[in-house]
């Protein structure tokens, strides 16, 4: 069967960008299948996984908290910035493929709640006819997400916890 649909299972439009907060384990294979398309020969995937040690401490698990009402709208803005930078209507950059071949499909899933060591906490997938747009979009999305998405990570140790990024 030819995959020609642009609507994902949640009713979202992957060419606009689809974002989900997930309370349960992220199914990586299903996400890759979702973002893929017969028109896209380049599929870039970034997975963030939880480390066993950080700052010299043994990490038991990580707890992710999201400002859920804002996370969706902020990710929408990040998707928009990504489309503007690399999508079909973007300005040319060095070695950019022709505008007609800058089709871009984007999927981002971020965990909430407790995530065990080694598990996937964030998935960013981008698909495009060629690899250049897919690579650039994937990198852009994870970098912007880490700077802007209202999500916080708490590392839990045997004897306490620490909010990552907390400067007070």
């Amino acid at each position: 069967m030819v995959k020609g649909h642009t609507q994902d299972l949640d009713g979202g439009d992957l060419e606009h960008g689809v974002f989900r907060l997930a309370a349960d384990e992220i199914d990586v294979a299903a996400c890759l299948a979702q973002v893929g398309h017969d028109s896209c020969g380049g599929n870039a995937l970034f997975l963030g996984t939880t480390r066993a040690t950080n700052r010299g401490e043994d990490v038991r698990s990580l707890d992710y908290e999201a400002f859920e009402a804002m996370a969706g709208p902020e990710m929408e803005r990040i998707f928009g910035d990504c489309r503007t930078a690399f999508g079909p209507g973007s300005r040319d950059w060095d070695e950019a493929p022709p505008a007609g071949e800058r089709r871009l499909r984007m999927l981002v899933v971020h965990r909430t709640g407790t995530v065990g060591v080694g598990a996937v906490s964030v998935l960013v997938a981008a698909a495009s006819p060629h690899r250049e747009v897919a690579f650039r979009a994937c990198r852009f999305l994870i970098d912007e997400l880490k700077a802007r998405l209202p999500v916080w990570k708490k590392e839990v140790y045997g004897d306490g916890h620490h909010w990552i990024g907390d400067r007070s």
Partner: protein
């Protein structure tokens, strides 16, 4: 002016509450002024210089004037990923 403050992550833990109410603020108080008042009245929160304000679902600059009609969300540095 009264202002409802909503807190997240480390700030919520320090306050021991998801929301606080600031009363007696001057009219046309800015985000920066509200943060300054909060630092004085709730020293347990620590410095709020790195904390970003959100109205609705958008980040707003510290110079934004508040009208007290909607809550000010205060977000510590995000750390998703």
């Amino acid at each position: 002016m009264e202002l409802e403050i909503r807190l997240f992550a480390s700030l919520r833990e320090r306050a021991g509450a998801e929301q606080l109410r600031l009363v007696g603020l001057p009219a046309e108080c800015t985000v920066a002024q509200a943060k300054g008042e909060l630092e004085q009245r709730h020293p347990e929160l620590g410095s709020l210089g790195h904390v970003r304000g959100v109205l609705g679902t958008r980040y707003v600059p510290d110079g934004t004037v508040l009208d007290g009609q909607e809550p000010l969300h205060l977000l510590p540095p995000v750390s998703g990923g």
